[in-house]
Symmetry: C3
Subunit: 359 residues, 3 copies
């Protein structure tokens, strides 16, 4: 045993803005086998009730090999792996686009994530820049599970580092419904809406319909930290009260994805048969959330689309707004001046797949 | 994308008293595959130690195909499904009776629940009524898993709605021990009480014996909400601090079943070899419980019964009383005037199965 | 039903100092099948990211049958079983030694624990004594999983009970690296350090190197109680706020093993490829921890050892110090006078196995 002290440099500090280059590929650490244990925890964290994810037997009546893992659980796991490389030095998570759910995960599948840098733009203050990455989650046989773009504002390590040529990718404002992927083998012909929790199917929704999901869920520190650790997401602001107590908010910030999942699970009341998330067109964390907040949600149907070659499946484009400490009977959202109602925390625009009535 | 706003009517508001009719059948939503993940969470929520549920190997020495799911976990899942249809507008959960555990659940089994309305009686105030339902949990091959009666006081939507003919079912005050079901394949001949945690078997208990279970468990908000979400129980009062802060108690109410499971797990110390819950004769949530409460429990042996055709198995009728913020050395319970000691929160009367000594 | 009250004596009160005898064997209750559910909970409790435990596919590229259960999860489960017999009446958990991880657990394995009393020494005050036990966790086919010695100070029931002949075992201050066990089938030749989370392998570490693991994790009551219940550890001080509020600290004490796991998971940043814990040389809970504490950690490399017959595997002897509410950039630890820095809570000395570069 030695008394000498050598200060190690092996601790990872994450990438800073100048560490990224256009076209750069990143292989993220820690592939993860998803299990029934993760599914149970997801249920316990959000009270998820979408029947396709709840019952192997029900799922098998739809032609699936068993109950697939909730799409957003898959998303959070894929996303979690990117944090150490992409957003450890992020000032802000600015947006998502072009997120597509391509292959469903089942317990036992192993998922890993890679990213490509598709845009870089230094901010005029010279202290930060925006990094655009396309991240891809892949299963153990190489199938793409989820693909999405996000952009984050990242600190520079050294403000004197030269700015890269600005390159901002053109991103679709909507995932085109023609490109939505129906889960392999899915046949909704025998879907039982009673077991699904509602008699309303795709045919019953109309554009402009606004649904107050009514229920509210209060989040505890233990809840959001448990979720975020389950996703192996290591962003520091979620876990460390000692440091955060001296920070901007004085307390731990909740992982934005926790709110996405809460909002989706609250949306069950009114969208019970929205069995799958097929795409996320865009998402914005309008305001931070903290332990003690009670989250409510409401949704607006933005579009209804048929799916080519699938008479039994329809897609709904849904905008779900999550709001804290404010019931949603009056649909608090974006105001006329483009700002949001004070209590809004999330504005999420996505496609879901829902059974259609027999034609 | 459209700017028009159509207020949706698709949100479920649950059934009100006048929505129920005698003989009505309800098929509840969200069948659920129970997994090893649920079992781990149950252990983590209550510290359950009953060996039959803990070890596949131990269970297989008893002739079982593996460790069955804890009987009360099965109960909570079966129960959770009924909430959206039966008790979303309940004022009070009045009682349980005739609850029988008929087939054990194993990880991988899928359970679904149906209910039949077996009684209706409007209250004299014209604002509420009592609904009696017999609910049945069934596994994927159609075997009855659990059957029980509960009655709840439900609000009327419209006070002017006519009262139904009053019909109150006759309910047994006790599940007759002759009708208790021994798990299929169970053979306690090789039961090892050392591994079970106590040398005491069925033969060692006597009627009137009162057992102080000694230990106490403090419940956090995160704990009871996690449990209740795991059971997909959506009763609003458990989750929404924003609304409850304005309500009767000023805070979230704990799911009564959480206390039942806590009491059962505390009862391990003194009833370690009470391997199975075979029936619940009756149960009463005497007072509400809240986060921060420390739950203690004690039990009284009400009866000892042999099981016909099973020399290796005996039944004990147990009354377990859960008490908050009060140790149970003096057995606080029902007082002479029929009221309860101030700190009592649960009075549960049930049958357990325990190994007998070799004859 | 009877009105007579018979006060039961069946509640276990645990062993007191005079109940132990040298050479005594104890078979602990509640064998436990470890499942994927436990693994998910472990991830959710600590944010564990060691890749060998995270991915079945990754583990199988190393010649393993799948992802083994985290070594410390196995330790906590083995340890938990001993509490009811060894330390229910403990005043203090004094130390660990000679802890060896011999066979890895995989989901589906069942573990049980036995202990042998290897030392006894009454304290001069006549009120307490030190009990030394060697505990062994065994899997369902009789293979030793974990073996360790711990010693605890245990109360006497009756102060007038005669003192046993003092017998203090000689314990190794270090598990000799020659005796470390490499997991069966393990071949690190194809280990991918990128997926492991760091480019640093065994060859890159040097004796005296001190690593600040940087991150901090705040612990909630729900978190440490959930963990401790998962391990079926029933030590009263962790769970009962009613009683503890009147005790020495006024609040619930955290299970020391929770801090060990937190420290190990924080050590990922700097020791990402420390795939296995092979042995624990010694450990000391320097100060108690409570909910609300933020735990940081740093590690010092005490020794580097090759493993005979395994060119692909190296062992590092690591001293990890956990500290509360204090970042570790200045490596707070043992001071010159032999005392510890005020904020230190854990001093753990252990061996890890890490891949070596191709020779």
């Amino acid at each position: 045993m030695s008394d000498k002290v050598i200060v190690s440099t092996k601790t990872e500090t994450g990438n800073f803005f100048e560490d990224f280059s256009l076209g750069q590929s990143l292989v993220h650490a820690t592939p993860r086998t998803v299990t029934e244990g993760d599914v149970s925890l997801y249920t316990a964290l959000y009270g998820a009730r979408f029947v396709v994810n709840s019952s192997d037997d029900f799922a098998s009546t739809l032609g699936l090999p068993g109950a697939p893992v909730d799409d957003l659980l898959a998303f959070h796991i894929v996303f979690g792996k990117t944090v150490a490389d992409i957003s450890l030095n992020a000032v802000a998570n600015l947006g998502y686009a072009e997120c597509r759910f391509l292959t469903r995960l089942y317990p036992g599948d192993t998922v890993s994530t890679t990213s490509e840098v598709i845009g870089l733009k230094e901010n005029s203050n010279g202290k930060t820049g925006v990094v655009y990455v396309r991240s891809t989650g892949t299963n153990q046989i190489g199938e793409k599970v989820i693909e999405y773009v996000r952009w984050v504002m990242v600190r520079k390590r050294d403000e004197s580092a030269p700015a890269p040529d600005a390159s901002v990718p053109e991103l679709a404002t909507e995932v085109s419904p023609e490109t939505l992927t129906v889960p392999e083998g899915l046949d909704f012909s025998d879907y039982d809406p009673v077991l699904g929790g509602s008699r309303y199917l795709w045919d019953d929704y109309e554009v402009g319909e606004c649904i107050d999901h009514v229920d509210g869920m209060t989040v505890e520190e233990s809840d959001h930290m448990t979720a975020t650790r389950l996703y192996q997401n290591t962003a520091k602001v979620h876990f460390n009260q000692f440091t955060e107590s001296k920070g901007r908010f004085g307390r731990r910030l909740m992982y934005g994805g926790h709110i996405i999942s809460l909002a989706r699970c609250l949306s069950f009341n009114g969208l019970s048969n929205a069995a799958f998330v097929a795409a996320i067109n865009g998402g914005r964390h309008v305001a931070p959330t903290f332990a003690g907040d009670t989250v409510f949600a409401w949704s607006k149907i933005l579009a209804c689309a048929k799916i080519d070659g699938h008479d039994d499946v329809g897609a709904l484009r849904v905008q779900t707004t999550a709001v804290k400490d404010q019931p949603c009977g009056e649909f608090p959202g974006k105001l006329e001046d483009g700002k949001y109602h004070d209590q809004v925390v999330l504005d999420l625009d996505y496609w879901v797949l829902m059974p259609r009535r027999a034609q």
